[in-house]
């Protein structure tokens, strides 16, 4: 089997689906000639031509609307945002249009549309760093997917492209494992040993709403997404090795729909839950998951649920401040210790 980076796995999913289905198009800023700001669509313009890979002007609301119109009339567009921060320029099209059209037409409309792009804090300051998932978890009609590994990314993106609904497919910049097209060094995280992973060449589907137990354990349940999954795994490995504490680490993989059962089964076994995500803690992923666990498994809990998320702040530029605001392994470790106290 070949090892692929996250960027490579996403690219392969798009290419293979586009080869199999001529109704799929890709559109966004610099996705063609430049190959994508993070190199994700490298070579796709040459492969599919300008009628399938559309380099758009800097018009997020406009090209999002074009994607919706195309989705309503027989195409299956993949709309890329160069940074997911920019999706806010298209908020009306995503939230008021794409997500609502099916309901407001009484089910007559089908909106097969993937919105994808990178998020996450990587030293770029407040407007190129935030985590957007909670905004869209709060938008009925949409699905929200957040892969943490190349293998999951490929299978989940195939599902997203084949889904008949608007899907927000969130990629984490630090997980791409790809150098920038300008030849710059790949952004990476020292807590992640190897960003590449064995990914089958053939197409496969990972369905939404199926969490993956990335590490089995019995003492504490840690639910974590994207880069935080890797930090949680690092914490789990260390605790097991040094102290014999066994953490079960669960990756929800999709936040909407959410696999409540896998999470609740684990919490009922460990009686302790730590939720880790990079988005702002207030009204965020952790809030929602904690409410699910608190409501469904309250009497199984031996300790209050811990939420580890970003401080309630825009992401600051200064590296020391960014690191303080965004959850680190030390924050996860501290939260695990609190639930074990």
């Amino acid at each position: 089997m070949r090892r692929l980076s996250m960027a490579g796995a996403i690219r392969e999913a798009m290419i293979q689906e586009m080869q199999a289905d001529s109704s799929i198009i890709l559109m966004g800023e610099d996705v063609g000639k430049f190959g994508g700001a993070f190199h994700v669509s490298h070579g796709m313009l040459e492969m599919f031509g300008a009628e399938r890979v559309w380099d758009t002007p800097i018009s997020e609301a406009g090209f999002t609307g074009l994607g919706i119109g195309a989705a309503l009339t027989g195409l299956r567009p993949i709309v890329e945002y160069q940074y997911l921060d920019f999706i806010f320029c298209a908020m009306d099209q995503v939230v008021n249009q794409a997500a609502k059209i099916r309901l407001m037409t009484g089910g007559h409309a089908r909106v097969p549309l993937v919105f994808r792009g990178p998020q996450g804090a990587t030293g770029r300051g407040a407007q190129h760093s935030q985590s957007v998932e909670a905004w869209f978890m709060h938008t009925p009609g949409m699905k929200v997917v957040c892969p943490s590994t190349p293998y999951d990314a490929k299978g989940l993106l195939v599902s997203a492209i084949r889904d008949h609904n608007p899907v927000l497919f969130i990629e984490h910049k630090m997980l791409y494992g790809a150098a920038s097209p300008g030849g710059g060094k790949a952004v990476s995280d020292s807590s992640i040993q190897d960003i590449g992973q064995d990914v089958p060449e053939e197409r496969y589907i990972i369905p939404f709403g199926k969490a993956d137990i990335k590490r089995a354990g019995k003492d504490v349940t840690i639910i974590a997404t994207m880069i935080m999954l890797h930090r949680a795994l690092a914490v789990a490995a260390e605790l097991e090795a040094k102290e014999g504490i066994s953490c079960e680490v669960i990756d929800p993989r999709s936040l909407v729909p959410l696999d409540n059962a896998t999470i609740l089964n684990s919490v009922r076994k460990t009686h302790r839950a730590v939720i880790v995500s990079e988005d702002v803690t207030r009204a965020g992923v952790g809030s929602e998951l904690a409410s699910v666990i608190g409501y469904e498994a309250f009497y199984d809990l031996d300790a209050p649920i811990e939420r580890v998320g970003c401080a309630d702040t825009p992401i600051p530029f200064g590296p020391a401040s960014e690191k303080h605001a965004v959850p680190q392994t030390s924050d996860i470790l501290a939260a695990v210790r609190r639930v074990l106290d």
């Binding site: 090209f63 609307g65 119109g69 195309a70 309503l72 195409l75 099209q93 009484g106 089910g107």
Partner: protein
């Protein structure tokens, strides 16, 4: 200060030369259907028997019917919160529309959309998008799709004078022209965005002039002259279909009623409204048909009577339909069907 519309004058008769009589009679009937549909809604709202709200396009029917008369049945349109006339002109079933207004399961959106979201994909009516300007890029996306699929279809977006100040107008017209999409952008300039006149909201009130920024043709026509609208839309649709790109068509008309339901329009002069009633698009076409002896008064009266019956039947039908149930919406949030 309203747009001083030189064309919209009762003294200027409608030129119906070279247009086949059956098409003219169809335009007359369609405009009447749109008018009567909304007149009946107004009455139903007054009597308190209809849920929700609505926005009437009374006096603006010439724009919808003129443009639609130039389209193929499989061409696409997007509409707005003021969208009944567009649906009627695009041949959406009056019965389906009326059932939707009454929030019935048999409605065009199964009672989930209502007045502001009337839609019929089988008729190319992609939706009424009730956020101002939102339908503009969606229509362009349908045009892009038509081009990618090589279907030969054209997509038309209808929007009001208020929408030209939304970012989507600028973003979409730029992309549509850049890529020569088979699209037609129709400004239905009814002179008011609720209380704001065009002059109060647009630095350049000649809205068609904006086309030059996008290197596309921009035309201003008398929106109360259905035939003039039709001729302009025909040229624009032919141009779009030939791969020559989009057109911006400003149709100057007037909103005779208030912005919504019972809004009284205290911000405008009653004299102004009366003056525009004198250039009613339906009456002007009727006068031209009689003057050119394309129809007799008896024929027009017969059409009017048929339209009244059509609406009476639609209301009677809608009242026999099934009310939306409490849990109906649960089936429509996402599409989980296979294939």
């Amino acid at each position: 200060m309203q747009v001083d519309m030189p064309y919209a004058s009762a003294s200027q008769p409608i030129d119906i030369s070279r247009i086949e009589t059956p098409l003219l009679l169809r335009m007359y009937r369609k405009m009447l259907e749109a008018r009567e549909f909304e007149e009946q809604l107004y009455y139903l709202f007054l009597t308190g028997t209809m849920p929700g709200t609505m926005h009437q396009a009374t006096g603006q029917e010439g724009v919808a019917v003129g443009v639609m008369s130039a389209l193929r049945p499989d061409d696409y349109i997007t509409s707005t919160h003021r969208g009944h006339a567009h649906c009627v002109a695009k041949d959406v079933s009056i019965n389906d529309m009326m059932a939707e207004m009454f929030a019935k399961r048999e409605g065009s959106c199964r009672g989930m959309g209502g007045s502001m979201h009337l839609t019929d994909f089988n008729k190319g009516m992609l939706g009424a998008f009730a956020i101002v300007g939102a339908g503009i890029p969606i229509a362009a996306g349908a045009a892009l799709s038509a081009r990618v699929r090589k279907s030969g279809q054209v997509a038309v977006s209808f929007f009001g004078d208020g929408a030209v100040n939304e970012g989507t107008f600028h973003e979409t017209l730029n992309m549509a022209s850049l890529w020569k999409l088979p699209a037609l952008f129709v400004i239905e300039n009814n002179q008011y965005a609720l209380s704001m006149t065009v002059a109060e909201s647009s630095a350049q009130p000649e809205l068609h002039c904006r086309a030059c920024a996008y290197d596309m043709p921009g035309l201003r026509v008398d929106g109360n002259n259905v035939v003039e609208v039709y001729r302009a839309a025909q040229d624009a649709a032919a141009r779009a279909r030939a791969g020559e790109g989009p057109t911006l068509l400003e149709c100057v008309t007037y909103r005779i009623r208030g912005h919504a339901r019972f809004e009284q329009s205290a911000y405008r002069d009653a004299q102004e409204v009366e003056r525009w009633k004198q250039v009613d698009p339906i009456e002007r076409l009727g006068a031209a048909l009689l003057r050119e002896q394309r129809a007799t008064e008896a024929q027009l009266e017969e059409i009017r009577a048929e339209v009244v019956r059509l609406l009476e039947d639609a209301i009677a039908y809608a009242k026999t339909c099934t009310d939306v149930g409490p849990e109906d919406y649960l089936a429509y949030i996402t599409d989980e069907t296979g294939g």
